[in-house]
Symmetry: C2
Subunit: 387 residues, 2 copies
C-alpha cells in the first residue's frame, strides 16, 4: 500500500512529526507523536475523513461518503502504523482507512494542536497617521507572482495599499483587479466612475466632502476590497483620507467600553436608494469575530437611516456614535494623501474607512474609477499563490 492516494485537498502536508504509538479506546483512537504530543481521534471523525477513492472522488477531491450512512457506534477491529508511518484502521464492516501523518498532525484537535493553528493565523497590523504607506508597482504585480502575493498580503494584513504606474486609460483598473479575481458588481456598475455629476445618485458623485465611511454598508456583505484609480486629477482639493477602522474601534474600546459595546450591539439601518433601487441593511456598526476581535466596521453617515432603538437606549446610542465619529477625526489616526494620475488605492473596505475632501470642479477635471473585489476572492488567491 503506497501513500494515501486521494486527499480531500490540494494542499500538501509535510511530515512535521512522526506517529509513535496508537492506542484504541472505546470511542476513539489515542495517538502519541514522536514529540510526546497526544491526540485523540474519535472513530466517527476518522471514518468521516477516510481519504480512500471510495470515500472521496479523486477528480474533484470532494467527499462522497456521508457519515450518517455509517453506524454511529462503528469501531475498528484493528489499528496499526504501517511501514510508511501512516495510521491504518480496519473497520468492523471491512472498510480500511489510511491516514498520512502530515495530514493527521495538521488536523489534530487536541488542545496544543488547535492552539498552534490559531497562533499561526495571519496577524493584522494596526496603524495610525504615520503608516509607511505600502506602495507596489503595477508592472511588477501584473507580471510577477511573488510581487502579486506581497501586495495581496499587505492588503490582507494592513488594509491599505497604493499601486503606482497604472495606465490612465479608462478601464485599466479592470485588468489589475482581475489579477486577483472577477469583480463584484453592484447597482453602480462593474467599474464605477467617481465624478461630479448633476444627476448624482450618491453623494460620492458630487464635489462635496465625504466623511469617513465604508462603501455599501447597505448590503448584507460590504465589499471586501475597494479600488480607486486616478485617471485625471486637476481639480483643487479632493485629497483622500484614510483611517484604520480597527484601530479606531480598539481605541474606543479602551476609552469608552460602554460606547464600544453599544455600537457592537445596537443595529443601525443603512440605505442606498434612488429611482431604480432601494437597498437597506440593518446591522451594528462594529462586528466582532468569535474571538472578540473587531472584524468589520460598517459606517457611512450619509447612508444612515434614522436610529431605531428603544427610547431608553437612544441617548446612549447617540453618545457612542458621536464619540466614534470624533475619534475618526483625530489627526493622529488620519492618513491624508492626494492621489495622482496613474496611482490607485486598494484597501480593505470593511476595515479601512475612507473620506474625501471637497474639491472645486471649476479648477479642473477630476476622474477616478473604482471597483470591488470580495475578501473571499482575495484569500483564495493568496492560498493558491502560497501552495
Amino acid at each position: 500500500m503506497k501513500t494515501a492516494a486521494a486527499f480531500a485537498d490540494f494542499r500538501s502536508y509535510p511530515l512535521v512529526c512522526a506517529l509513535d504509538t496508537v492506542k484504541p479506546l472505546a470511542d476513539q483512537v489515542l495517538i502519541t507523536w514522536a514529540d510526546g504530543r497526544v491526540s485523540p481521534f474519535h472513530h466517527q471523525w476518522l471514518r468521516d475523513n477516510c481519504p480512500c477513492p471510495q470515500c472521496v472522488y479523486s477528480v474533484t477531491r470532494e467527499q462522497v461518503l456521508e457519515i450518517v450512512d455509517v453506524p454511529e457506534d462503528l469501531t475498528p477491529d484493528t489499528t496499526w502504523l504501517d511501514d510508511e508511518g501512516c495510521l491504518c484502521v480496519g473497520w468492523q464492516d471491512g472498510h480500511q482507512s489510511r491516514f498520512d501523518p502530515g495530514w493527521l498532525r495538521a488536523h489534530a484537535y487536541d488542545e496544543p494542536s488547535r492552539a498552534e493553528r490559531l497562533a499561526s493565523k495571519p496577524q493584522r497590523r494596526l496603524w495610525q497617521h504615520d503608516l509607511p504607506l505600502p506602495v507596489f508597482d503595477y508592472q511588477a504585480v501584473m507580471e510577477d507572482a511573488d510581487a502579486l502575493l506581497q501586495w495581496l498580503l499587505a492588503v490582507r494584513d494592513i488594509g491599505l495599499t497604493q499601486v503606482r504606474g497604472v495606465p490612465t486609460e479608462p478601464g485599466s483598473l479592470q485588468r489589475l483587479a482581475q489579477r486577483i479575481s472577477f469583480i463584484r458588481e453592484s447597482n453602480f456598475g462593474v467599474l464605477f466612475n467617481v465624478q461630479s455629476k448633476a444627476d448624482a445618485d450618491s453623494n460620492a458623485y458630487t464635489a462635496f466632502n465625504l466623511p469617513l465611511h465604508s462603501d455599501l454598508p447597505t448590503r448584507e456583505l460590504q465589499p471586501g476590497l475597494q479600488f480607486l484609480h486616478c485617471l485625471v486629477n486637476d481639480a483643487q482639493g479632493g485629497e483622500s483620507i484614510f483611517v484604520d477602522g480597527f484601530a479606531v474601534a480598539e481605541a474606543l474600546r479602551q476609552e469608552a467600553p460602554d460606547d464600544f459595546e453599544a455600537l457592537c450591539r445596537i443595529p443601525v439601518e443603512f440605505r442606498n436608494k434612488d429611482r431604480h433601487s432601494d437597498y437597506r441593511c440593518l446591522a451594528p456598526i462594529i462586528a466582532l469575530d468569535a474571538l472578540g476581535h473587531v472584524a468589520e466596521i460598517r459606517m457611512a453617515n450619509f447612508l444612515r437611516g434614522p436610529f431605531d432603538t428603544s427610547a431608553e437606549q437612544m441617548p446612549g446610542l447617540y453618545r457612542a456614535y458621536r464619540r466614534l465619529i470624533a475619534l475618526t477625526r483625530e489627526p493622529r489616526l488620519r492618513l491624508v494623501r492626494r492621489l495622482e494620475p496613474g496611482q490607485l488605492w486598494c484597501f480593505d473596505n470593511r476595515r479601512t474607512l475612507h473620506a474625501r475632501n471637497a474639491f472645486d470642479p471649476a479648477t479642473g477635471a477630476r476622474h477616478f474609477q473604482g471597483c470591488y473585489v470580495d475578501r473571499d476572492e482575495l484569500l483564495s488567491r493568496i492560498r493558491v499563490l502560497q501552495r
Copy 2:
C-alpha cells in the same frame, strides 16, 4: 412654509394619524398623537433627521449634516405644530426643522410603534413535502410588473418557486435573472453549466447523486437566490429534491434542543478547491437572527472540511450533524420533482436545501444552466416594485 421638500427617502409616508400636542422636556420632545399614542423624540434624533435642503442634499436624498457638528446638548427654543400638521422645531442656533407627521409616525420609536413595525415585517411560510408548488409563467414575469412582484414575494416568503415556459436556448436564464438585477458571479462563472464532465471541479458536474446542500457554503455570504434552468433532460434519474431548511432546523430545535444549539454555536469549515482557487469559510451550520429565528442554513457534506472542535465537543457535534442529516432525509419533509426542458427552479439558497438523484448519462443528455442573485438585490427590487 409648504410641505417638507426633501425627505431622505424615495418612499411616501401617508398620514396615518395626526399630531395632537407637543410637549418639550429636558432632552426630548414628547408628542401625543390623535389616537392617544405618545412618542418621545430626543433632541439629538430630531436634529439628526432634519429633512431640510441644508441637511439633506435634495438630488441624492443623502444626509450632508453630521450630528457630531452640532452640540450634544442642543435644545429647541420653540416647538409647535403648523397649519399643515407638521412638527416644527426652532433650534437655539437659529436652524429650523420641520417634520411631516406621516414620516414621523413611520419612524417613531416608542414601544407600540416599534412593535407595530416588527409585526408588519414579511412572515416566512414553512413547508413540507406537500407544498403546493408556486409556479409562475415566464412571459408574464418578463412583461408584467405585478406578475414579477408576485413571483419575487413567493421567492422571499416560501423560498421555492418554479418558472415555466422559459426558452431553452443556452443563456436564456440570464434575461430572466436580470428582471431582478445583475447576476452574482462566482469562480464557476456568471452562468454555470450543470453537466457531467470528465474533468469536473465539483461533484455537481458529475452524474453522482448530490445530498441536500446549499451552494457555495464556502463563501462568507452564501448566494441568496439560486436559479437552475433545464435545457435538456433526456437522461434517466436526476430528479430535483428540495427541503425547507428552516422547517428542518425548527424540527431539530423541537426534537433535540442540545443538537440545535451545537449547530448554532460550533463553526464548521467548508471548502471549494481546485487547481485555480481555494475558498474556505468557517461558520456554524445554523445561523440565527437577532430575534432567535433561523436565518440561514449552511450545509454541503461534499464541501465540508474535517470538524475542528475540542475533543470534548466532538462526539456532540457528530451526534447533532447526524441528526440534522437524518431529518433532511425524512420523506415528510422532501419535495421531489423532475425538471423538464423550459422549466426552472428559483429558490432561496440560504434556506431551501437542494439535492439531485444520480442520473445515467448513457440514457440521454442532461444540461441545466444555473446562476445566483443575492438577497439584497431581490429585496431592493421588491421595494421598488412596491413603491
